[in-house]
């Protein structure tokens, strides 16, 4: 029995699932994150809110631009409905103004968020380094 076709199909399926797992990351907003080694991707809390800060200081959540008040309202709403600690990940463009980051940090602290995570781009041949 010639199993060449079966092997091809299996490899196609493997490549498909590997590619889609990478493509899932494509939903991330494209930003030039600060290039730092970080502490590893780590594990989030019971729920995760990802807040992107573009280079012009615009806050982007779920691929939509939002005001600071809108972002904080989302965080409070998510925190109220989450049993465990809310995981807040901030992906700030390396050129984003510090005022935007600080305003968000102040708002998060006022909302009771005691710990957050800042996203970085891992330096190296497959990562950043620009």
């Amino acid at each position: 029995m010639n199993i060449t076709a079966l092997v091809d199909v299996v490899f196609l399926l493997i490549v498909f699932f590997l590619t889609t797992s990478s493509l899932a990351e494509v939903t991330r907003v494209r930003l030039d994150l600060p290039v730092q080694a970080g502490e590893g991707a780590g594990r989030g809390g019971a729920a995760t809110v990802v807040v992107n800060i573009a280079s012009d200081g615009v806050y982007i959540v779920d691929r939509r631009a939002r005001s600071l008040e809108g972002v904080l309202a989302m965080v409070r709403a998510e925190s109220a409905t989450t049993e465990g600690p809310l995981d807040v990940v901030v992906r700030a463009d390396r050129g984003a103004p510090g005022s935007a980051l600080n305003a968000l940090a102040t708002g998060l602290a006022d909302a009771g968020i005691e710990r957050w995570r800042l996203a970085t781009e891992v330096p190296g041949p497959l990562g950043g380094g620009r």
Binding site: L12, T19, L23, P34, A41, N102, A109, W116, L118, T120
Partner: protein
């Protein structure tokens, strides 16, 4: 065989261009208040991230440090138990507090706290 090799090549090309690896820095978060702080609090070690002399830099104690490596070296000599506060002014871009946080981690600090400076600006 050739088909499989080409497919794997295509996969690695796509994965490297579409998903640059990300990592995370996980500082604690604390808002700075003008009336904040109790006298019982231990005075934390503070790294200030601000525009110093017109360009972004770090201030640790009375020392001005211009690079992440210099900051890391300076932090290595400090006691780690009481942690460190990274106080960030508005006048710098996001890469600078990230560099300061990374320097604190590289120097061995387990307790790192991000404090947005009220009033912003720099020197």
């Amino acid at each position: 065989m050739i088909d499989i090799i080409f497919l794997l090549l295509i996969y690695f090309f796509l994965s490297t261009t579409l998903a640059p690896p990300e990592s995370r820095l996980s500082p604690a978060l604390r808002a700075e208040r003008r009336d904040a702080g109790s006298s019982a609090d231990l005075q934390p070690q503070v790294v200030e991230v601000a525009r110093i002399g017109g360009s972004p830099g770090f201030r640790l104690g009375g020392r001005v440090l211009r690079g992440q490596e210099a900051l890391t070296e300076a932090l290595r000599d400090l006691p780690k138990e009481i942690g460190v506060f990274v106080r960030v002014s508005d006048g710098v871009t996001a890469r600078w507090p990230a560099a300061a946080l990374q320097a604190c981690r590289d120097a061995g600090f387990g307790k790192v706290t991000y404090v947005p400076a009220s009033g912003g600006g720099g020197v």
